[in-house]
Point group: C2
Chain length 259, copies 2
């Protein structure tokens, strides 16, 4: 068993070498400890997407994969604060920032604990990728466990903040999550940005599922639920008509017990 | 007239000093020419958000503004490819990347030409800020002109790509833009990301307007239209019911002549 695969079993461990560079290229790049210092002098440090990968993974996709983009199987997770627009109409902008900071930081902890990366943050929402650049054997389950952690970490905190702000009824305020597993295109898609992202129908489906999730809900596609087996077994299913997608989509719904 | 304000009149010029650091702190940071070389050795270069600002503006908000976030008046623009989800169901993922690259690069050119910054890119969408960190006297008009340029640059290109792909009828495929002017909170809202962004009700309203724009349309709020005066005069208005916003919102609609 290699060093990197041994590390995988320890969950949100603090890796001493970049797990992305190891999984993608079998190159050990030190990111913690004294060996990381000379790399840091050359601007190579821990990535903001996940502290167990390095800035080479984040910004040098073409160097890592020898291509501008690749097709890969991954699980995509979108999360977003439900009721944020309504909240933003009622409370001062400066107070909203507490809400966004709390959401972004707790979601990141949940995603990193399951080896996903926080690929995009946009205000009260984010997109995470599971299975790139850190390889995860069961990425569907990893994403679902991250989603359940997101619900657990965020629900109570957001609700207490919301009651402080005298804002919305609890059931309209919380986090909605959407998850889908499929082939996505990963790489650089703009000539002036060097950080990688994922695009494709599978990404859009995850985003559409998230848009239909109520506060406290995790909506996943049939593909993700099937791969996850036990984790999604016996859960409620819902037939959804999603914008831009012709056929109705069957979604499996997990509801946070804290919601 | 200072060097920086003289530069403003030349549109999408290649500034020799960072226009953000100049406008926010009156500090001249060289970003082009021989004087920029020593800065580059310390990792200070041109920002990916706009090549006329530097990475200090982009990643060191707390250093620039001496606060974690500030309230500022700005114009926010969202743009997104209409019909992308439907397209992603019909064509190969690898072909979609051409579409995304084309969209992202042409939008950036249009936004930079009017001194805006491309703050966020998310697949087939983006968010731009006008009036921070580069100050723009008439930021509402700057954003509208950028939106019209986006429509002009993207429409023909996307349509020709779409007919190549044998995809959608032309009128369902194109770019939708939403614009709103208001007070936003600008700064860092996550403890692990150092790039700044804008949040608040005004940001969400711009996003909601964009979600209602058809291919080829630019939808702007009454606030933006009023500030822009002549640019929006006599244009069609539309009363919209937007998700999360109680009162109906009046939008002014500009339709690209190329659409």
């Amino acid at each position: 068993m290699s060093t990197a695969s041994a590390m995988k079993n320890t969950g949100h461990s603090r890796a001493s070498i970049c797990r992305g560079c190891w999984d993608q290229m079998r190159v050990p790049i030190p990111i913690r400890g004294p060996l990381a210092l000379p790399f840091r002098a050359f601007g190579i440090g821990r990535s903001k997407m996940n502290p167990n990968i390095c800035t080479i993974c984040e910004r040098s996709f073409r160097y890592v994969k020898k291509k501008r983009h690749i097709t890969a199987r991954a699980t995509i997770l979108f999360a977003d604060i439900r009721g944020f627009t309504a909240l933003s109409e009622r409370v001062e902008t400066v107070r909203l920032s507490e809400c966004v900071s709390l959401f972004q930081d707790r979601c990141a902890q949940a995603i990193w604990a399951h080896d996903g990366i926080v690929n995009k943050q946009m205000g009260d929402g984010l997109m995470a990728i599971f299975n790139f650049p850190i390889e995860i054997k069961d990425h569907a389950s990893a994403a679902i466990m991250a989603a359940l952690d997101i619900q657990q970490y965020c629900t109570a905190a957001l609700r207490s903040l919301s009651s402080d702000l005298g804002a919305l009824p609890g059931n309209a305020f919380g986090v909605g999550v959407g998850i889908h597993t499929g082939d996505v295109e990963i790489g650089e898609f703009s000539s002036f940005r060097s950080d990688f992202t994922a695009i494709g129908g599978a990404v859009n489906l995850a985003a559409r599922l998230e848009s239909q999730a109520q506060a406290g809900e995790v909506l996943m596609s049939l593909e993700t639920a099937t791969l996850a087996g036990e984790l999604a077994k016996g859960a409620e299913t819902r037939l959804l008509q999603l914008k831009g997608i012709e056929q109705p989509v069957q979604a499996t719904v997990l509801i946070s017990i804290d919601a």
